[in-house]
Symmetry: D2
């Protein structure tokens, strides 16, 4: 296995191995899930198709699944999410990789199709998906493979939204699991993971100070909440833009200004999008921004910041620091960090290891669940059973030396009753 | 109306009016809801039975409903939640009050029954309930009134749990609204309201410092999250006890120690319960506590701290400060703030006005919704329609000079689709 | 001793004793200082004149000194700082008290003069002063007593400023100790003590929510820093007004807006002064404030808010809640909490006990130091020796189960050298 | 000028220029100081010797001085603080550079001596020093140059300690300015600058999560305070080790555990030193640490962590991630980030630009002050005049759109008086 891999430079493997080892060492939850759940033969001979950014933590997930007997093949949702050293190492660790940081972005679907062909061509498979890329292709350009796919599990909020759209349209041809909606996923990965890593990526790439900075967070879902919280924890003056009034009110009670995006543009110094929507910052926003404004996207889709519009509005652009592009708008400068793609991946090392340990323990159990039960599940969006979600939390708490109580039977009875 | 009221001391009314005026003035949301929604005739001649602590904000809610035409009658879930000056003022403002701070706690149900008799005896009524007290009695000792009750709306997490228990048992005889589960309610009232007011009540009654204090929060639901957050915001070193491992993990990621309650007892200096469950702190806990430990309950039920057990374990007790009772356990002292009942009400002024403004705007709209639609709703637990919830948030944001955006049609389309 | 006391109502003593006992029990530092340092005979027969607010913690300090052998007499800087129950209890505990909450504010100096007459009339004395009241009178209306006064120790920032003014003018006739400038005092009492208690007093008296509130802190010294920090910790949106640009810059880096007071008036909802200066909020400020603005003073002088000016600008005023006065300015309402005097004392219980435990351990040691060394000290402003300051911190850390390291001799050498 | 530079690779200059331009653009304070103060001819023909890490912000300071007419020469306190691209660019911008990342660390003094020779050999000079390196050499191996040196200004807490040691020993042969002790320096650079950049460097190099992490800060001076605050702001559970009991008590009141270092070793997961002392973490500490402990130094001296001792205690070491070295202690692994040197420089980009803008505005004005007044100053440690310090703060506030008030003459009079 792994031998058909297409990677940019196999000689980079040693660096990749080192990074993967670090991730492995800091993944106590996934390691215990592997030992206790994954080695039961479920994955023997099964295909597992994975669409995820290619970096150390995702790499380690695929290795764990491969070691459990699966034939794992992986591609990235796009070339900017590929670390070539990790891709090279992965190919040496028994995983088939189709990923290069120098691929043509427009051709990203081709690599995902290769993954589908490999894992579901002649064998049953489950999919671990990112923004529904594999699932979408299986339902459009690779319909022939549908019968072999037991189900897919989705990593992101935006991907789950697509699953639900497909369910609404009645087109889903296999069951899907909203891995993102496991509490052990979205409460941690989206909030703390995106929060810490997006803010860190902006600081390390710009070398700017957070204290006192006017930072505007667009979107106050779990990702936005994490970003706002950590920015404020570092002293930024945070404003929030939302379309959901209740979320807006939460932001207000949390101590933030809440205002329409066009108004926020006039005061912000740093703008971070986290809406999962399109065209959140567009030309009319750029035109109102102050000289020196810094933009980054931390959301799950690539179109939150209208980068094309920014480019058109500018007389020119240049890279002024690694991962920072300067746009010239009639004398005013606007800086874009990480191309407008998810900033913690394109201009950083992704989420913290311990966060992905939780997320990938969930994902591994999702794949395991689909492998075992996919045939029996309806073709709609399912949640990971609560017991599995809880068990992951319990393992994590144990790994950090913490613990919870259990309800006594008297308490259970009390909570279930209504008479005095 | 109001003339049949039974209150402790009518001469206290002037102080009560003053308090109610203050609440009225700081309730822009309820005021606007009144002007825009409540005056449509829905409440004309309708009975509205209310079970809520008798203090200024609840009083103002009942006044608003009475002014909208309802015949409102109110009692308290217990005598310790009654401010006699407010009760006296209320009786003068057209609301029928059955409440005295000197009533026998064991007779609390009698006052609730009086409310039921008054509002539903011979006329249709809706109920605004607290911990399901009115709803429970309507289904047990006042079954004869059931046909006239269009529905009940519940204020607390614990009350909603009782509603759901009744639904599970199939005994619900009218539709219920989980007002507590409106986002404008639990995200604010339970979290920020309980958080600020419980911590303030403990500080003002003990005159102790929060900075550096080891504070143990039992329960990390919305109430517990608020308590922990504000205690930490004031410098306390917070530990959390939970039975739900995912909530435990949230507490850990928020920077708190998470440990079993018996272990926490050995380190804590202040203990605050917020579980909605029974027997959270019992004799075996008291026996492990350090000399000087301080206990308070901020949860929705009165049995979280086993006060009887504490009393039995002690050689004696005395009031050492207003609202603070000292128990002597073989030389060690344990202090109980606010009798073990909800501390922000029994040893403080309840939630902040602005929080209750939100909550009671929701409650008023719940009553309005039940009044209009109760006959058409199934006899189970319902949520307030999302549009109404959102509208309340929008009014509040507007009142504080904040605002949100709307999705463009392109964004709506984007969010609804799954094809590229 | 204590027999000449003038208090309002001796029958209130039981309540006072209870409060004092609570303070005593939560004062481990002062208790240990008493046992280890104060009982060496220094205070035998010495007069100790004390000018401090009369509440439980100050009361306990005077009791400790009386028990160490001093003839202690105490008065308050003004009637609004007197809790009559504590005054009554104090008179029963061997301290001579001249204090009543119903005294004429304009006559406050008379009580302080009585204290001077009593303690220094015919015996040597030391003074524990508040805003330099006793010291000022000793240098003006009671010059005859100067030879018997070994020195005075001052509690507040503003009082120390007066000491320094007297030193600059060359009029000081006895040595003074800037107790306020001990690190164990100002770093804790001014910052955490004022911070917590001022914010708590505002919340408990107004029943308003902090989350989202626009709170303006005037003055960013230690008191202002504490207020801003805790208000922000509770979710307020804080702005800061300063005259010192470096402090202003600290506030900015801490995440607060920094702007001139007149500008702040247009946005603030709550205003807290903590400058130690005069006329910080005056008529021109009131005229710019929004309807409903709330004012409180947490600073060491009574003239930060121009209450007379506020009264003149208003068509009328009335008490709308206990400790809250409403002023009507042509339709706009402005609320004043705690009369414009130090809000945590006039509308609350003063600083937290543990804070005053530290402060009064320092004060007791200041009095002890002056008693023993006053004759040898120059007539200027002195600091408490660093060793004593450090020792107090060490005792406190020990009392809360914490501890520090010591420098090794190698480290001391390293730190003292400059050659490689 | 600049032509004698010794740099590793001149071809790297373009990257260096880009970085310097970014710094220049984000340095409004230094730019305004340059325009308003530095161009008065003071620096014409003067030598300015600079010992500072060679990265973009320091580079820009030297360029500003060179543009003001000075002959500037710069070296680094050690090779690990040299960014070769910046060194190359600097050499092209009129500054003489003696710095290479590949120099022998033991030869660092040679480069500093070259700087001294160049700037003070035949012309008057002022020095901008780091950890007193230039000043020490001027007083030992380069005594002949002393007459031409008008004074030196020091960047770090540890350097100022050395200045004071020299003053105590009476060996200072020219006046020194404690630039570090300017309020605009230590309150910001040490606290916010070190805090943000040290925490960011640890996160970006380890890819670990801060939330829930047990982080031990050794030293609670300004640097330690900043580190603790931001770590806590990101959710870490912080413990503090100190030798100063009052600082320890501050840490306690700030909500942190305070305990001896040996005890802290048993619980910590990340250790950050910031003491300015030697041997803070030694073999006896390493032996108590848990498997996986992470160490970093954020303090001003290189010997806080006994790296030699760590190496001796280990059976081997290897680089597991860029800037992270793993040591094997009988199965337990300990990770060292950034070699034990100042982690934000050796494993990051140094302090945020805006922080250094403040610091270097101060440094430029220190150099200017020494150039003009050095001959008139005594040979001891001086502070930058308060007016200059204040002016820098004022410029910065103005640059970020903030402002402060001025005292009225009535307020000045009030503050200066002591009579009622």
């Amino acid at each position: 296995m792994g031998s058909d891999s297409i990677v940019r430079d196999p000689s980079l493997a040693p660096d990749g191995h080192r990074k993967i080892d670090w991730a492995a060492e800091h993944s106590p939850v996934l390691n215990r899930v592997r030992d206790e759940y994954l080695k039961d033969g479920t994955f023997e001979g099964l295909g597992v198709g994975v669409a995820l950014p290619i970096e150390a933590k995702t790499a380690y997930l695929t290795i764990v699944l491969a070691e459990a007997g699966a034939d794992v093949s992986v591609a990235s949702p796009g070339p900017f999410f590929v670390q070539d050293d990790v891709a090279a190492a992965l190919a040496e660790r028994g995983v088939t990789v189709y990923a290069s940081s120098e691929a043509d972005p427009l051709e990203a679907d081709r690599e995902l199709e290769r993954v589908l062909d490999r894992v579901a061509g002649g064998r049953d498979a489950v999919l671990i998906d990112d923004r529904a890329g594999l699932t979408r292709l299986a339902h459009t350009t690779r319909k022939g493979l549908l019968p072999r796919i037991r189900g897919s599990s989705e990593e992101t909020t935006s991907g789950v939204a697509k699953f639900r759209a497909m369910e609404r349209e009645g087109v889903l041809e296999f069951p899907t699991l909203a891995a993102n909606d496991a509490r052990c996923k979205y409460l941690f990965d989206n909030r703390y993971g995106t929060g810490q890593s997006a803010i860190t990526a902006i600081m390390q790439n710009t070398n700017l100070m957070m204290g006192g900075k006017r930072l505007v967070v667009l979107g106050y879902g779990w990702c936005g909440k994490g970003i706002a919280r950590y920015a404020a924890g570092l002293g930024a003056r945070v404003s929030v833009c939302e379309v959901d009034p209740v979320r807006g009110l939460e932001a207000y009670a949390d101590g933030f200004d809440v205002l329409p995006a066009l108004d926020a543009c006039e005061r912000g110094e740093i703008f971070v999008t986290a809406t999962g929507s399109t065209d959140v910052l567009t030309r009319e926003h750029f035109e109102r921004m102050r000289d020196g404004a810094i933009l980054a996207n931390a959301g799950g889709v690539d179109v939150e910041i209208d980068v094309d519009g920014l480019r058109e509005a500018s007389s020119g652009s240049r890279e002024v620091r690694r991962n920072v592009e300067e746009f010239d708008l009639e004398g005013r400068k606007i800086y874009l960090v990480g191309r407008g793609l998810v900033v913690n991946l394109t201009a950083g090392d992704g989420h913290p290891v311990e966060i992905m340990d939780l997320t990938f323990a969930i994902q591994a159990l999702c794949a395991h669940h689909l492998a075992n039960n996919g045939h029996a599940l309806e073709n709609r969006v399912h949640l990971l059973p609560k017991e599995i979600d809880d068990e992951v939390a319990r393992i994590k708490l144990d790994a950090v030396g913490m613990g919870v109580d259990s309800l006594t039977s008297e308490q259970e009875e009390f909570l279930a009753g209504w008479r005095e």
